[in-house]
């Protein structure tokens, strides 16, 4: 487990540090992440497995779409997490820019690839759903195009944070891109309401009852919740690794200086 890193006390935060900076101590973060990680992965895998089996083998087929509707159980959670992940990326970037939190830069760098992965799932499964139902793998309507833009924002962030010799400048550029891209999130959400699109409007909204049979809604909620836990677990694992890798670089640099 992560116990091995408990012993070091790197860059101890000033006494009485409060608020977010309580988690600025990398050792404390690693201990916390090490405790949360097995639970998040376990719960995520369990919920996702139940939801997927339920959706594939138990839930009823749709009267129009037949069994193709089962693609929903992977497509919709991926779509939700693509947007939620970007929200997390933007929040980490804001914390990094404004409060200079030492973990926030690393968090942004580690969230972006996971978010890009879930956006890719959303785009690919959506395409595989669109062909048999709509009659096209891809159309340039506002919903599909804005999600493709989201994918490129993630890729741009990944490229930008690695494009500079000094990581600090890469973090800064990436954070600005992430915040600028937030404009795309309401466009994705409301594209189906603001403009005529081929993509249908949301079935599950905060304001009204879901327009979905309950026997289909339940497995969807399971896969969505499971996928969220898996997303969190992936980010925590990557962030823990990144914190340790930074510690390794610091130790190597100190050693090189000492000799």
């Amino acid at each position: 487990m992560l116990g091995v890193v408990d012993v070091f006390s790197p860059t101890a935060p000033p006494r009485g540090a409060r608020g977010l900076h309580r988690f600025a101590n990398p050792g404390r973060f690693l201990r916390l992440a090490g405790r949360v990680l097995p639970w998040a992965s376990g719960i995520g895998l369990l919920l996702a497995a139940i939801g997927l089996a339920w959706g594939l083998f138990v839930a009823p087929a749709d009267w129009q779409q037949g069994d193709a509707v089962r693609i929903m159980y992977v497509h919709v959670p991926a779509a939700w997490l693509a947007s939620a992940g970007y929200m997390a990326l933007a929040s980490a970037s804001a914390v990094a820019l404004v409060w200079r939190h030492p973990l926030a830069d690393l968090a942004a760098v580690e969230i972006a690839p996971v978010g890009a992965g879930f956006t890719a799932i959303c785009l690919i499964t959506g395409s595989l759903w669109g062909k048999p139902m709509w009659g096209a793998f891809w159309v340039w309507d506002a919903r599909l195009t804005s999600v493709l833009v989201l994918f490129f924002l993630y890729l741009g962030h990944i490229a930008l944070t690695r494009a500079f010799d000094s990581p600090e400048r890469g973090y800064r550029a990436g954070a600005i891109l992430a915040l600028v891209g937030v404009v795309n999130l309401p466009i994705i959400k409301f594209s189906v309401d603001w403009w005529n699109t081929l993509h249908q409007p949301a079935s599950i909204t905060l304001t009204g009852a879901p327009t979905m049979y309950l026997g289909m809604l339940w497995p969807l909620l399971f896969t969505a919740l499971g996928a969220s836990f898996i997303f969190v677990a992936l980010v925590l694992a990557r962030l823990s690794a990144a914190v340790m890798e930074r510690r390794i670089r610091a130790l190597l640099a100190a050693r090189a200086e000492g000799t």
Partner: protein, 166 residues
């Protein structure tokens, strides 16, 4: 003002500027952001020979099938409730095509006001329902799918259904 407060103010100000710029841009280009126009749009500003996407619902009782040169051909009316346009199409229709269903067709407006489609895409709505439930609603007279949108979900989302939907 502390430095982090100044940074916060800068970020918020940039966000406000960017947000309004984006909103204005989207508003200015709103006509180009729609994927299709409706029959009402077409009635008010359609020109013959123009290539565009026309979207709406397939009017109940309007679908006529035929065969032209061994190819399946179909003629139907697309309506948005206020206005409707006659569409002709030669080719294979998507599985979801039916009366009362949403469609988006790519084609040109003919001088006679009809629409000649080269591509028909099915647009499904946000309702997900098993076949058993649809049959039950039809039998009880609560919903005829060709006639309009389904009743509120609370009236049907717990009706019994089998896995294949009957």
């Amino acid at each position: 003002m502390k430095r982090k407060h100044r940074r916060l103010a800068i970020v918020l100000a940039c966000g406000l500027g960017l947000g309004s710029a984006a909103a204005l841009t989207l508003f200015a280009f709103r006509d180009n952001l729609v994927f299709f126009v409706t029959p009402s749009d077409l009635a008010s500003r359609g020109h013959a020979g123009e290539t565009l996407r026309l979207g709406g619902l397939v009017a109940a009782g309007s679908v006529q099938h035929a065969t032209i040169d061994g190819q399946p051909a179909v003629r139907f009316r697309v309506t948005d409730g206020r206005s409707s346009v006659s569409v002709s199409y030669i080719g294979v229709l998507p599985d979801l095509f039916r009366e009362g269903q949403g469609v988006v067709t790519l084609g040109t407006l003919a001088p006679d006001g009809g629409f000649v489609a080269s591509e028909v895409l099915a647009k499904h709505d946000e309702t997900y329902m098993p076949k058993d439930v649809v049959e039950a609603l039809k039998k009880s007279g609560h919903w005829q799918p060709a006639a309009g949108p389904p009743p509120p979900a609370a009236t049907w989302n717990t009706l019994p259904a089998t896995r294949n939907g009957g």
